[in-house]
Amino acid sequence: MIPTLSIDELCISFPRRGAPIRAVQGVSLTISPSECVGIIGESGSGKTQVFMAAMGLVSGSAAASGSIRFEGSELLAADAAALNRVRGSKLTMIFQDPMTSLAPHLKIGTQLAEVLVCHAAMSWRDAWSSAARMLARVRVPDPKRRLHQYPHELSGGMRQRVMIGMSLLCEPKLVIADEPTSALDVTVQAQLIELLRSMRAELGMALALISHDLGVVAGLADRILVMYAGRIVESAPAAEIFNHARHPYTAEMLKCVPSLSGPRLARLPTLAGSPPQPGEILGGCAFAPRCPRVDARCRAEQPQLSETGAGSVACHFPLPA
């Protein structure tokens, strides 16, 4: 079976006076057809850059190496024409801020229909009616009227529904959702998670869900990748990550999520220190300065991702299973 997305030893660095900033350092991952993979990490961990590279959207000044294959064909070295055969149709992306990712001066209907006109060679008339059907499908009330509205006339949640609808128009094989609910209220977030879940059940596409919020990912992902300082530090089925985290970073991160039940705490649990600054070069494991299990070896030697029973972990001293 050919994986939907397969990334091999991806490195992305940004030039800077002195040493370049190495935003992504040797990331390898695969996403199978109709699988939902959650990618968890703090800002600066490189989680967005990995998928921007898959969409051909990394900044022009960045240097990228490695390989990104979508259904077997290489995307990283591909030219715009080759990229455009898949992106926007078979491979789509939903961004965090639904206001800035819709064009403010075009009607919702125009923006949706354009996708089908460009990628499916539909007439504008057919595309417009398909767009209306898609809006109904993503549960935008009164879709025919909405098509004639501009983005500013819609609430944040409705705009994100439009974005989700747009990403699904050409029956994609993989949708990349980068913090799709982070800018929205918790109630709207719950609705959108539910929408993504039901769309996946209906259409069977694979989903890469990028988030810093473990709760959002918990509700959707089959498998979770944890990123820290440009590398994948742990990868496992979602239940394993939440029940038996092996990497100390994952475990500490889970402890930091304040709970809605159980005893109230006088102080919130914390993870000391902060992630390395962009461009900061550390000899060994990037998490060593904050790690409760740190040893001399961690400061000297970069741990490699290696197989465990259920997944893989990059740690010299992983937690017991």
Binding site: G215, C256, P258, T270
Partner: protein, 324 residues
């Protein structure tokens, strides 16, 4: 309980025909932490700004140490403001990019403790930087040289250097990474304990509010709909909106199931404008009955210390958590 430090009565703020805050009343005691939760557009920040007189269009009364802040002006207001400080959501944009952070932290001292000489001021700033987990040497750096978490520490240092009696925190950790949020919240709690500061903590993160608040206010469409101690509010919410809000929080469970879509939140209208009459929440409420359409429910004490603005607050409403 002892005499209230801040006594807000019938506070309303109108933006044209839209009531951003409507008839809000509450007390805040010395050393108390009051959590304020609600969706965006519910009026949380507007309420905070009205209390601090950062808005002109407020009416009602905000009694602070025996004086009404809304009618105080000029030098008198300026003197009172020494004890009223705020920490904003975006730590970087609330600092002057061209001012060294040591000067930014010293500025309140220049204004309110003008008797201090430069040396004494520098000592106070150095001590404060140390207190918030930074170093005195960082005082000569500029905001862009700091991470988001560090900028928020600077914002807190600037707000706390005068030992205010009231600190309003408007979403102070929302823009920070998860591993940093706890550090900043704990810092606020430590400073509060040491200085005995009262705190109004505004957040949409219900879990954070639950742990640090003595009492929680829930706001919807400009009104308080529920006020209770966190144990009561989170274990047995009585207002359907609070129930829906709690049901919407994604939870990490052993067998991951995400949040369920709370019924009654399906049709989240833009800005959640209140209907012209009756309960503002009735259009989204799964429990609405005819009286909800005609009459605004008053905020009334349903159990000791547990205030609810709902016509059905005495009935055992079952939180509907709903479509699978």
């Amino acid at each position: 309980m002892n005499e209230a430090l801040l006594r807000v009565r019938d506070l309303s703020v109108d933006f044209g025909a839209h009531a951003a805050v409507s008839q809000v009343s509450f007390d805040l005691h010395a050393g108390e932490t009051l959590g304020l939760v609600g969706e965006s557009g519910s009026g949380k920040s507007t309420l905070a700004r009205a209390i601090l007189r950062l808005l002109r269009s407020a009416h009602g009364s905000v009694e602070w140490c025996g004086k009404d802040l809304l009618t105080t002006a000029g030098a008198e207001l300026r003197a009172l403001r020494r004890d009223l400080q705020i920490v904003f959501q975006d730590p970087l944009s609330s600092l002057d990019p061209r001012m060294m952070i040591g000067d930014a932290i010293a500025e309140p001292l220049r204004i309110f403790e003008s008797g201090l000489d430069a040396k004494a001021r520098a000592l106070r700033v150095a001590a404060m930087l140390d207190r918030v987990g930074l170093t005195a040497a960082m005082g000569t750096r500029y905001p862009h040289e700091f991470s988001g978490g560090q900028c928020q520490r600077i914002g807190i240092a600037r707000a706390m250097i005068l030992n205010p009696k009231l600190l309003i925190c408007d979403e102070p950790v929302s823009s920070l990474d998860m591993s940093i949020q706890g550090q900043i919240v704990n810092l606020l709690l430590d400073l509060q304990r040491d200085a005995g500061t009262a705190m109004l903590f505004i957040s949409h993160n219900l879990a954070v509010v639950r742990h640090l608040s003595h009492r929680v206010l829930v706001m919807y469409a400009g009104k308080l709909v529920e006020v209770a101690a966190p144990d009561a509010l989170f274990a047995s919410p009585r207002h359907p909106y609070t129930m829906a809000l709690l049901a919407a929080v994604p939870v990490i469970e052993p067998k991951p199931v995400g949040a369920t879509v709370p019924s009654g939140l399906e049709e989240a209208a833009a800005g959640a404008r209140a209907p012209a009459a009756g309960c503002a929440y009735r259009d989204r409420c799964p429990h609405a009955i005819p009286v909800c359409v005609t009459t605004v429910p008053p905020l009334a004490e349903a159990a000791t210390g547990h205030w609810v603005a709902c016509h059905r607050s005495h009935e055992p409403l079952i939180p509907l958590s709903l479509r699978a």
